[in-house]
């Protein structure tokens, strides 16, 4: 499958990454090789097979909606690159 530099631009945007013009060609080539290889899956007949996202049966686990974690706002905020008034700080997004 041909992976164009436009596809790379699109996929990078989906993944919230920026790629330089210089990187695009190499990334396109790598992705093309990898995806070409992945296409060997088409040799396997999967007609009528149910897709399996989990091996063991998974079901919703419900619990009472009560707070069990401690209030550690201060501690959590210590990890923030920027904080202000007890909140995470980001550049202004709404005028």
């Amino acid at each position: 499958m041909k992976i164009t530099e436009d596809t790379i631009q699109y996929v990078a945007a989906l993944a919230k990454l920026s790629v330089t013009e210089g990187e695009k060609k190499k990334i396109a080539k790598d992705l093309e090789d990898i995806l070409d290889y992945m296409e060997i899956m088409n040799q396997l007949d999967t007609e009528g097979v149910e897709p399996m996202s989990h091996v063991l049966p998974v079901k919703n686990i419900f619990r009472e909606d009560v707070v069990i974690n401690e209030n550690n706002r201060e501690e959590l905020l210590k990890n923030a690159p920027k904080q202000k008034d007890g909140s995470f700080a980001v550049p202004k997004t709404v005028e």
Partner: protein, 507 residues
Amino acid sequence: MKDITTMTALDLGRAIKQKEISVAEAVKAQFDIMKLRDPSYQCYITMMEEEAYTQAEEIQRRIDAGELFNSTLAGVPMAVKDNICTRGIKTTCASKILYNFVPTYDATVIEKLKQAGAIIIGKTNMDEFAMGSTTETSFLGATKNPWNTECVPGGSSGGSAAAVAAEEAFYALGSDTGGSIRQPAGYCGVTGIKPTYGTVSRYGLIAYASSLDQIGTIGRNISDCTAALEVISGHDLKDSTSVNQLNYSYREALVDDVKQLRIGIPTDYLGKGLDEEVREGILNAAQIFRNKGAIVEEFEMHGVDFAVPSYYVIACAEASSNLSRFDGVKYGYRTENYEGLQDVYKNSRSEGFGNEVKRRMMIGAFVLSSGYYDAFYNKALKVRAIINEGFQRAFEKYDIILGPTAPVTAPGLGESLSDPLKMYLSDIYTVSVNLAGLPAVSLPCGRDKKGLPIGLQLIGKHFGEKDIIRAAYSFEQAVKYERPISLTETNKETKHISSDITKGKGE
């Protein structure tokens, strides 16, 4: 004085209980060796010396008070892979984007270890976000294989496996998404077990691919691995995929008896791409099982060739979703180069993630994007179902599936990263186990002509940990554990250094 760091974890645990060795002595012996050897092997991202001595005091007090009598590993120094959250201790995933992240809580496995009196001595190196098979994608530099420092230790839990092999830890935790415990254990000549999906809580494990990730243990023998697995396993309400089992007493399976055990070897596990010396090692191992009374035969298992593509599609898709949380807002690295919020996201991620992680996120975004979802992602899920079905059929006939852990022994540093596809293909024998959620163990079964360890993989049925533990234990009775030859040399250095210190004092 007794050479503490060469002991097994369980032997040290016993010696501590019998007051032959104090916890502080054990910790000191361990840090002496870590300081001596880690400059050569670089197993650790963070060493926790101060914390370890504080823990040692506390654990000694609890032992002396008669607590922890049931805890076989109380007081034994151990290491944790740096993608498992440790409260108050940096947890980086070997990535720039988490270079300064200090979790505010402990992973469930860490809580359990602390309750059992474990001494956590450090956080080990790994491939960035556990994406890689060599530990070379670490932002902090590569770990070296203690058997040959020109070679990789494997990955992604390369730091944990190398630390155990180099006696820089008595045992360690790793995580295994597609072989990340078993393959480095194989390359470093130690034992690693990945339990059945759902056996160990993933709460506090920084996710790579949630439907495949599982925490497990690495040790210098199966008994140590088993003891550690007993500590960390168990149902956890904080992980909704955790499975409640009746019995976690794996030590019952430490029995030297494989008579009538039915062992199957998939013919395709011995086929093309497998190194000749590794094949010999595996066939010798099979013969050892036969000699001990097991029934070993080859059989046809279909779908082996489709495991790698299915795995990488699924793992990358899950990763692209899981890693979207790293955006430079709540924790970790934030770019200095931004005007609006979108720049913060994009530039923090682009500057913070390494190439392999970016590649996998882009593959993931691609296979999930409209127009390709059915052809790749959905197809991979169907292939996964067929692979699982193949295992289920095999386990109607066999108790255990035997094969190599990896097609080759440890490659040289720098050989793998240039060709990602080739690196992915080397995961051929391990990834299908994760796709099917099965338990598997890798243990050493001799060495090749280059002197590098060969890994033997034993795969069990769902919740069949005891079958593989029993087989591994029986195998160990026939094959003696070998420590890396280079360690004997660094031990001489120890003596050299300590005699210098004594001399200094004398003068």
